[in-house]
Symmetry: C2
Subunit: 201 residues, 2 copies
DNA sequence: TGTACATCAGTGAACGCGCGTTCACTGATGTAC
DNA sequence: TGTACATCAGTGAACGCGCGTTCACTGATGTAC
């Protein structure tokens, strides 16, 4: 059975890659079983050997997206002060969204496949994007960069930071998709201002 | 022709109201010409008396949404200090999203109908949500609540504030749609922390 | 080595559906004289 | 007031399309003896 398994995983991955490609090039609405099969010189019926339905494919693509988002954040250099590190992972989050806009939007249209904090499965997975963020916040707390605030601990700080970077990412891939100014530079200041607010008593 | 015109506008509005209702109750994907016509005891073909296509209807619904969002923000009491006023319109933005989640999401899926700053038509419209926000920021500047920062003037402050409230709104209507905690209370602190960051030198 | 059979990935065609849109038509209303 | 005609909002049925999914089938590969 080993060749079967190996081939199975190769084909499965090819399907997911083609689906991601379609979403990237033509948007999520353009994803159909027929076009997906065409991309890998396959028949639409054959896809059902690997996935039970179109929705299963979409969910798998979303989960892969969350893994890739986490990978962006894991690349950030940890050997810097806590606030610089937090700034770095924030920028990584935004960069993922800018480089994979439709994938990013799709991921947040299917929250059931997403890294929502109330999702137990993901909470146990240490490498989720949200947990990476939480660990960065936790490091800042233990290094004393955040003033003590009643009712505003790790979870609240994590939520605050998430909303900030998510707002930047979302606005830039929807409303400001073709904004002519240099928003990268503005984002630097926005994130720094935001962190200053969290760190000022 | 007057009765014709009056009736025309009444029916047109009824179509838009029904479309908004469907989006609110069943989500944007459930909006079809047939169901839309059924809601107002009409024929699908008749809709083409009032709109050229389904897309025209969706765009009109989005534009109405932006007007309603602006109305939420216009309701906010201006007779308070500038930072309290900014806090108020931020909360109004989030409240609109929470009370009209699918409408809110749809609005930002059709940026061509939206209040993007590069959209000239909207920039001339003083009552757009973005201009209301900009006016609030402008008031803060003239009252001296923001420290002078090179390269971080009205537009940058407006962008920063928009990303903040948009991030809260988006996360809450997608990833955190059924989050069990009291995010309203947390949002208060998040927005205050954010404003503190902007107002601290 | 050769033969008969079982397995199974992959296929082409079809099913059934809902969609946006078009079109010939209806029937009520308004107008002219 | 009555009649003939024009207007026009609204309709039912149909067109053509693309979709997700199913299914009987094919043909290559592996297995047993």
């Amino acid at each position: 059975m080993k060749p079967r398994t190996r081939r199975y995983h190769r084909t499965r991955q090819a399907i997911l890659d083609a689906a991601t490609e379609i979403i990237h090039e033509e948007g999520p609405d353009a994803l159909s079983m027929r076009e997906l099969a065409d991309r890998i010189d396959y028949s639409a019926a054959g896809l059902y050997e690997y996935f039970g339905s179109k929705e299963e494919i979409i969910l798998a693509v979303c989960q892969e997206g969350h893994q890739r988002l986490a990978a962006y954040m894991l690349e950030v250099d940890r050997e810097v002060p806590a606030n610089d590190y937090l700034y770095g992972i924030g920028k990584a989050y935004v960069r993922f969204a800018l480089e994979n806009p439709d994938h990013f939007l799709l991921m947040f249209s299917y929250p059931e496949a997403a890294g929502a904090p109330e999702n137990d499965e993901m909470h146990q997975e240490n490498d989720s994007s949200y947990n990476i963020l939480l660990q960065g916040i936790g490091r800042g707390i233990s290094e004393g960069v955040f003033p003590e605030r009643p009712g505003f601990g790790l979870d609240e700080l994590g939520y605050a930071a998430w909303t900030m970077v998510h707002g930047i990412a979302m606005l830039r891939v929807t409303a400001l998709r073709e904004y002519p100014l240099d928003l990268d530079a503005v984002d630097d200041q926005v994130i720094h201002n935001f962190l200053r607010g969290l760190m000022t008593a």
